[in-house]
């Protein structure tokens, strides 16, 4: 009998061609997908050339997404995007999306069925951990690792130990996956899961839809985690069926698998949460934050730019208008989400409320474009990072929270709960 293993250990063992692996072990794994974007791919392409490989190991397993500074912000970004485009075309890369099809990478890859349950995925972007929501092992790496992956189809890993987060009970109204993960990061800190895999289980997690699950795994990196993972279930099946481009494999943790630590969390005790500047772990309750006025609200990103997020925001904004001093920017994460939101009439609600609706882009999330903050300005955003200077001037501030709270904040002009608006 192999030793009892966690879902993460099982996926890694299978991709390393081993019966079992254990935390701390250094292994080489075959990869299912290697991802890079318009910021990280240019370096990866330069390093790839230096390997002498000539052509990528499998042009159907490399995904290149120009999403950070596109539609091209300026001449320099246009040059970066061109390097990626030229490489994609020269290599016959099948997973390349031009503006018009492009979306924020971590919303796009699952939506397009490029990543699936049981996969091992590396991406030259820290939020690659998002795909763990599908029951996959996905982790962010640098451009050089991506280059080596593109050349060989393999990567080296130190097998992480796992932390288990068992969340049980019913979430209160206006409490979402975002509040749950902010609560966890606030509890364990930005290095609370350093080098570790974060496994989310329990009946609360099982009750959540895929969009909330993506949000939770997306922010594993904000706790320092190597990956976040949620085991495959019927919700996952409903999402990947008819979508996944490859056959998938289902793994689950053994009952007697070993964890570094098990956190038991009562979902009913979680309240709407906001992360204050300048760390995602600097969390407070929304009800204690109403004194914070904001200049801008951003609803979007790989964390909360999916259809369910837009529906929730629209539900709050319907029949209301945003505070005239709050620039409100809504960014659907992909073209498919954009189209769906349009069909559902969400854009009418946003525009009537006085919000701008953008084409898919990372844009303001990383302080790139489409909503940069001036000195001393404050934004409330559904994104995932609030580091110094993240959305603009180094003296500006970013507050992180859910789409519902973001929409309420836009209307109130200060951090607020939807119920405050009545």
């Amino acid at each position: 009998m192999p030793r009892p293993m966690t879902i993460t250990e099982k996926i890694l063992a299978a991709h390393a061609g081993r019966e079992s692996v254990e935390p701390g072990q250094l292994i080489e794994c075959s990869l299912d997908i290697v991802l890079a974007n318009d910021v990280t791919a240019p370096i990866a392409i330069r390093e790839f050339a230096a390997t002498g490989a000539g052509s990528v190991w499998d042009p159907t397993k490399v995904a290149l997404v120009p999403d950070h500074y596109t539609p091209n912000k300026d001449i320099k970004s246009a040059e970066q995007a061109k390097i990626v485009r030229d490489f994609a075309h020269a290599q016959g890369i099948t997973h390349y999306w031009e503006v018009g099809c492009m979306g924020v990478e971590h919303a796009l890859l699952p939506e397009q069925g490029v990543v699936g349950p049981g996969d091992v995925i590396i991406g030259a972007d820290s939020h690659t951990c998002t795909y763990g929501a599908l029951g996959a092992f996905a982790t962010g790496v640098g451009s050089t690792d991506a280059a080596a992956g593109m050349a060989t189809g393999t990567a080296w890993f130190k097998v992480p130990s796992s932390l288990k987060f068992e969340v049980t009970g019913k979430l209160q109204p206006w409490v979402s996956g975002k509040d749950l993960i902010l609560h966890i990061i606030g509890m364990i800190g930005v290095d609370g899961a350093l080098y570790q895999a974060m496994e989310f289980t329990g009946d609360t997690i099982a009750s959540l839809g895929m969009d909330d699950r993506f949000t939770i795994c997306n922010m594993a990196i904000e706790a320092g985690g190597k990956s976040g993972i949620i085991a495959f279930d019927e919700t996952t099946r409903a999402y990947v069926e008819g979508r996944a481009e490859r056959a998938w494999t289902v793994y689950e943790s053994d009952a007697d698998a070993v964890y570094d630590k098990v956190y038991r969390i009562d979902a009913a005790a979680i309240e709407p949460t906001v992360a204050f500047p300048h760390l995602p772990s600097n969390t407070k309750l929304v009800r204690d934050s109403r004194h914070v006025n904001v200049d801008q609200v951003v609803i979007g990103s790989c964390t909360n730019g999916r259809i369910e997020d837009l529906r929730i925001a629209a539900g709050v904004l319907k029949g209301r208008t945003v505070d005239p001093r709050v620039r409100t920017i809504v960014i659907p994460a992909t073209q498919a989400i954009w189209k769906q939101a349009m069909h559902e009439g969400l854009f009418d609600i946003f525009v009537d409320a006085g919000a701008a609706v953008s084409t898919p882009t990372c844009g303001p999330c990383l302080g790139g474009h489409m909503g940069i903050l001036a000195a001393g300005e404050r934004a409330f955003a559904t994104t995932n990072r609030n580091f110094v200077g993240r959305m603009g001037d180094p003296t500006s501030e970013v507050y992180l929270g859910s789409p519902a709270v973001a929409a309420a904040t836009a209307v109130a002009g200060h951090i607020a709960l939807p119920d405050d608006l009545d």
Binding site: L26, V39, T40, P42, I43, R46, E47, A50, T51, G52, A53, H68, Y69, K73, D74, K76, S77, Q80, G123, A124, D125, S126, T128, G140, V141, G142, S143, T144, D145, A147, A148, A151, T152, W156, V190, D191, L194, Y195, I221, G224, K226, L279, L366, G367, G368, R385, F387, V388, G389, R390, P394
Partner: protein, 164 residues
């Protein structure tokens, strides 16, 4: 490998956004990136850093994004080694892969003060604060990782494999 230089001291959770802000990520040219290294945490860094200098920080250095621009900017600024209590894992990988020496030593990170002269012997893992005379030992790299570093980084290893 031996290094000696002046220590530039920072606290915990130094993130990649302050090491190299995203507004400069529309280039990957090391010299360009070096001009803005540490800009949002220490605007005077670029003016005071000298070739051979050392960055010292507390826990979780390099947390945040996967941008390799961060170790590239640090290396191009003239810094030879980063000593920290711990590193964020993507930064740790990136530093190894791009050839920026890093050392994990909570004791050294706690004791070394801003402006101290520090000598590092990367082979033995010995860190000496020359100003105070204190000596510390860093965690050695596992042999697998040492192999990558000594072989000239990850790309060199792949080049060898591809050639076979």
């Amino acid at each position: 490998m031996r290094f000696e230089g002046t220590a530039h001291r920072y606290g915990r959770d130094v993130d990649t956004d302050v090491i190299i802000p995203a507004r400069y990520l529309n280039t990957s040219d090391p010299a360009e990136l070096a001009k803005h290294c540490m800009e949002d945490i220490d605007a005077g860094f670029v003016a005071k850093v000298k070739p051979g200098d050392i960055i010292v920080a507390d826990e979780n250095f390099g947390c945040g994004s996967s941008r390799e621009h961060a170790p590239i900017a640090i290396k191009a600024s003239g810094v030879t080694v980063v000593i920290a209590s711990s590193f964020a894992r993507i930064f740790y990988r990136n530093a190894i892969n791009t050839g920026l020496p890093i050392m994990e030593s909570p004791e050294a990170a706690r004791a070394i003060r801003d402006g101290d002269t520090v000598a590092v012997d990367a082979d033995t893992g010995t860190i000496t604060d020359i100003t105070t005379g204190e000596v510390f030992t860093a965690q050695p790299f596992p042999p697998f990782i040492k192999g990558i570093i000594e072989g000239g980084g990850l790309i060199a290893a792949v080049r060898e494999r591809v050639a076979k």
